[in-house]
């Protein structure tokens, strides 16, 4: 048997650290000499130990070194929390700016050369920055989904709405009004613009909700640290 010098509990010889406080156990000793403390320590067979043990009273042997007394800030095992990432933001911003610059350059070049592209391609070109930020936003949400699931989900929903508006107003609206008279098409466009504005309003609400979700108030964070 081994004994913990801190809490005086006894353990099997196979253990090195105390299951309660993580201290290094003393050298093996004979448990028959320990009867003065109220009888021998009961040692359960290894396959029964988990079933008979009271729930969550003793941590598993793999986390013995991580035991923290109540009241102290809880430490997580190494490797479970990634360090705060700042570089990806810079990288994403640089890629986005480069892509935007590229798109604007191409569009200016196309306009100056008066190339005979279809009207739809010009409509897509106008909304190209939006499609780009939608792609970036969706990728960012997917990357952050594990760490901030609700915020990522709300952001992704807003991005999908933005993409829907982009596609709807580029292709679908033209297709829907192709057989309409000019006056009818104008009325339809008026209704579509109001509809688009409702979607923008929904997006704004989603962005605001995403910004506050999965967050703790500043006072709570300070008291934890």
């Amino acid at each position: 048997m081994k004994r913990c010098p801190t809490c005086s509990r006894t353990f099997e010889d196979t253990l090195t650290y105390c299951l309660i406080d993580g201290s290094v156990l003393s050298a093996p000793f004979d448990d028959s000499s320990d009867n003065a403390r109220g009888g021998p320590t009961e040692i359960l067979p290894s396959n029964e130990r988990r079933e008979n043990a009271p729930p969550e009273t003793s941590p598993a042997s793999t986390i013995t070194a991580m035991y923290q007394p109540a009241g102290e800030p809880r430490l997580e095992p190494r490797g479970t929390i990634a360090a705060p990432q700042k570089k990806p933001y810079v990288l994403v911003a640089i890629i986005a700016l480069a892509a935007l610059f590229f798109l604007i350059s191409i569009s200016v070049f196309v306009i100056l050369n008066r190339a005979s592209y279809s009207y739809n391609s010009f409509l897509f070109l106008r909304r190209a920055p939006i499609f780009l930020i939608v792609a970036i936003g969706i990728v960012l949400s997917l990357v952050r989904m594990r760490r901030h699931p609700r915020a990522s989900l709300l952001t992704m929903l807003a991005m999908v709405l933005l993409a829907f508006v982009g596609i709807f107003f580029t292709l679908l609206l033209q297709w829907l009004t192709r057989d309409m008279s000019a006056a009818g098409a104008n009325r339809f466009y008026d209704v579509a613009r109001v509809f688009q504005d409702f979607i923008f309003a929904a997006e704004t609400v989603l962005f605001v909700a995403a910004a506050y979700s999965d967050r703790r108030p500043i006072g709570q964070l300070r008291s934890e640290t």
């Binding site: 929390i81 990634a82 705060p84 933001y89 911003a93 986005a96 935007l100 798109l103 604007i104 569009s107 306009i111 008066r114 009207y119 010009f122 070109l125 106008r126 909304r127 190209a128 920055p129 939006i130 780009l132 930020i133 970036i136 936003g137 960012l140 952050r144 594990r146 760490r147 901030h148 699931p149 609700r150 915020a151 952001t155 933005l162 008026d190 613009r193 109001v194 504005d197 409702f198 923008f200 309003a201 704004t204 609400v205 962005f207 605001v208 995403a210 910004a211 506050y212 999965d214 967050r215 703790r216 108030p217 500043i218 006072g219 964070l221 934890e224």
Partner: protein, 115 residues
């Protein structure tokens, strides 16, 4: 600008009334949350005000600039080019506003904040 232009401008603003009301509500909400989440609220407030100004500014711009640039030269290629450049500028500014929203959503989050 003549009376027709003013009417068109008013109509454009009325069409955007839902988002204007949403901006107002969101700004009030953000200010109400300022004490608990100061950094997020600041970023959100900047984004919301930028978004609101963007909508007002580009509504006026779309009403005024095409006529000013085109004058009486209503060639289809000219109209297409003017609206393409205006659209690109508008959407690039929109992207900047969305970047502000994304910053407010994901920046300065503690890893332990995920619930």
């Amino acid at each position: 600008m003549d009376a027709t232009k003013w009417t068109e401008l008013l109509k454009s603003f009325l069409e955007q009334l839902p988002s204007f009301l949403t901006f107002a509500a969101c700004i009030v909400f953000v200010i109400a949350r300022w004490k608990r989440y100061p950094r997020v609220s600041l970023l959100l407030l900047i984004a919301l005000i930028a978004d609101l100004l963007h909508q007002i500014f580009f509504t006026i711009l779309y009403n005024w600039v095409p006529d000013w640039l085109l004058g009486s030269n209503y060639d289809s290629a000219n109209i297409r080019n003017v609206y393409t450049v205006l659209g690109l500028i508008t959407n690039t500014v929109t992207v900047a506003v969305i970047v502000l929203y994304l910053l407010a959503i994901f920046a300065k989050r503690q890893p332990s904040e995920s619930i």
